[in-house]
Symmetry: C2
């Protein structure tokens, strides 16, 4: 049975990537050894890692003034590693609070310097992206979360600041072209658009490193991983390989411009139906809607069980909204095909006829 | 061509485990979805995680007074997380320095309290395990590395201390029965006996936690992961699944006693040949030899290239010694079959005839 995977993350990956990953777990490249049992210092993984770094440079258009790292610990570990590495104890950083994850990032940063939350939609359940704020001219960086997976909002343009931007792109990285040069540091847990759970991509402008005086454990110091090309210790071999395959897939499909075209088509189809169909309503400010995660609700929530049974029957999975928001959430990452959104929209229309 | 994988890590895994892992990467349990794209909060992974925790309890014989965590960051991250979580700034801990990794653990611990290195073989290139030392009665814990992958030595019995033992078991976990109740904390990077690279097993006695007053970032606090059953953030789904499969394989083969029987048979066969064959000599103190990693050398090192060509011809991989030691290193983890060691011993004997 064909499944339509709307899961918020870990999330859908391209079928061809999964097939290659599966084959590599049995026999990597026909060498009669699994990728899972290969030394991280051997020629096979060294080539994988170097290619993954090169593909990241290619997709972002960033040159050697940026280091590409494949770490672990998820975006949640970057919440403290960013200020630990970049923010001097006597310095300050600007933060935009647009969702649960930026809120956590703010909490973790407070131990390492002055944190100025210059805008927040927390009081309004994160239902919009704040646009009216003043960034501080002396901020070491401005931190924000480009896409808010829980609420379903997304920045439509880059925040206004003269400071380098630091961005948690976990849930929309490589979903559209961006002016990546505006960023001092980008991080992303792999498990949405990039690959499976188990590795975290960090892209950092090298000249921002080494400016804090605090003592940092070796494994938490970005400079350790820059010097050793993410191989100071054993990196997460298999997750990195799947990220490489996914980046190659993106490039093979036409790159970030093509991803944006597809993501726009999918999200416009779904949001149009949400707005047209009298049974449903969208949960967030229209102009801030995410191309990745559409959050919506039934006017009559007593119909939810019946609707969910229909989506399940059609092979849809992962449509339940986050427990803090409720309703439905359809995540439409790069690898989700338009036809899956068409299936969902068909169900919504059938449900309307049934209830009408 | 059959390969004989003597790699020090990431290392050989059982064939049946690799086949199951490969299938799960394509289609987990016949649900038409890959394990790589399943939510970590869904029923499939929740069951995997719970089973992995249960199997760890079963293999160690430890009860609920111990928490089982599947983290990331490798043993190298435990080097600082252990003292950060367990050692009060005014307290002290005993460390045994028996190899490169214990040396790193000592370096990282120094920021968090007083570190007493009560015994060391560093000056002798770690060629033996120190036995003559005095542990401190007021130590918070005694830290040691049970098996030294680089030098090829292994503790044959538990260190003498009244303090809880803290042990880096990365390279010999589940290779033999142990009195696990003697330990306050055990950690192991998965990528030798346990699974692929990408997750770190931590087993900790719960009553040792919460005794330090320093501020700890959320992700670095063991208590975070104890409370949330390793799912505070997205855990490394696929590596954890492969660990579960490997633990089930160990139990299915007869458990730790059977692993020890096999590991003894393999290592005795190889060490006997090293001692008998006039072309070779072992690198470490005989009574401290590791069952996992045998390090040895040719008396005439100019013969190395020819020998390595013969091993390669026979399908052996990963036999090159660590760059800091040189010579040969044959790693014989749980999943390596006796027949692979027989192939290596045959080559050593053939080489003797050729050179004799």
């Amino acid at each position: 049975m064909t499944k339509h995977n709307f899961s918020a993350g870990p999330a859908i990956l391209p079928k061809s990537v999964l097939d290659q990953a599966s084959e590599a777990a049995r026999d990597y490249n026909g060498i009669s050894l699994s990728l899972l049992e290969l030394s991280h210092r051997g020629p096979e993984f060294t080539e994988i890692l170097n290619r993954a770094v090169a593909k990241t440079h290619e997709l972002t258009g960033l040159g050697d003034e940026y280091a590409v790292l494949f770490l672990t610990g998820g975006a949640s570990s970057q919440f403290f590693m960013v200020p630990m590495n970049l923010l001097p104890q006597e310095g300050s950083a600007d933060y935009l609070n647009t969702g649960r994850w930026s809120d956590n990032a703010i909490d973790e940063a407070k131990s390492f310097g002055t944190v100025n939350t210059i805008a927040s939609s927390k009081e309004d359940n994160y239902m919009f992206i704040p646009k009216d704020y003043q960034s501080n001219s002396n901020a070491t960086y401005l931190h924000y979360t480009s896409n808010n997976t829980v609420a379903g909002t997304q920045f439509q343009s880059l925040p206004k600041s003269e400071a380098p931007l630091v961005c948690d792109m976990s849930s929309d990285i490589f979903s559209k072209p961006l002016d990546f040069k505006r960023f001092g540091l980008i991080y992303a847990g792999a498990q949405k658009n990039l690959g499976p759970a188990g590795t975290t991509l960090v892209v950092v402008r090298k000249d921002l490193l080494g400016k804090v005086s605090r003592e940092i454990p070796t494994m938490l110091d970005y400079q350790t991983h820059v010097k050793k090309n993410s191989s100071y210790n054993t990196p997460p071999v298999f997750p990195i390989y799947v990220c490489l395959l996914t980046m190659e897939w993106i490039l093979g499909q036409g790159g970030l411009a093509e991803m944006e075209r597809r993501n726009k088509a999918k999200s416009q189809l779904l949001y149009s139906e949400i707005d047209r169909n009298p049974l449903f309503y969208g949960l967030v400010n229209k102009e801030d809607r995410s191309m990745m995660n559409a959050t919506f609700q039934l006017h009559d929530q007593s119909q939810m069980e019946e609707l969910m049974a229909m989506t399940k029957e059609a092979g849809c999975v992962g449509l339940k909204g986050h427990r803090s928001v409720g309703g439905l959430r359809a995540s439409m990452y790069n690898a989700l095909d338009l036809s899956s959104v068409e299936v969902l929209v068909d169900i919504m229309q059938e449900f309307e006829r049934k209830k009408g």
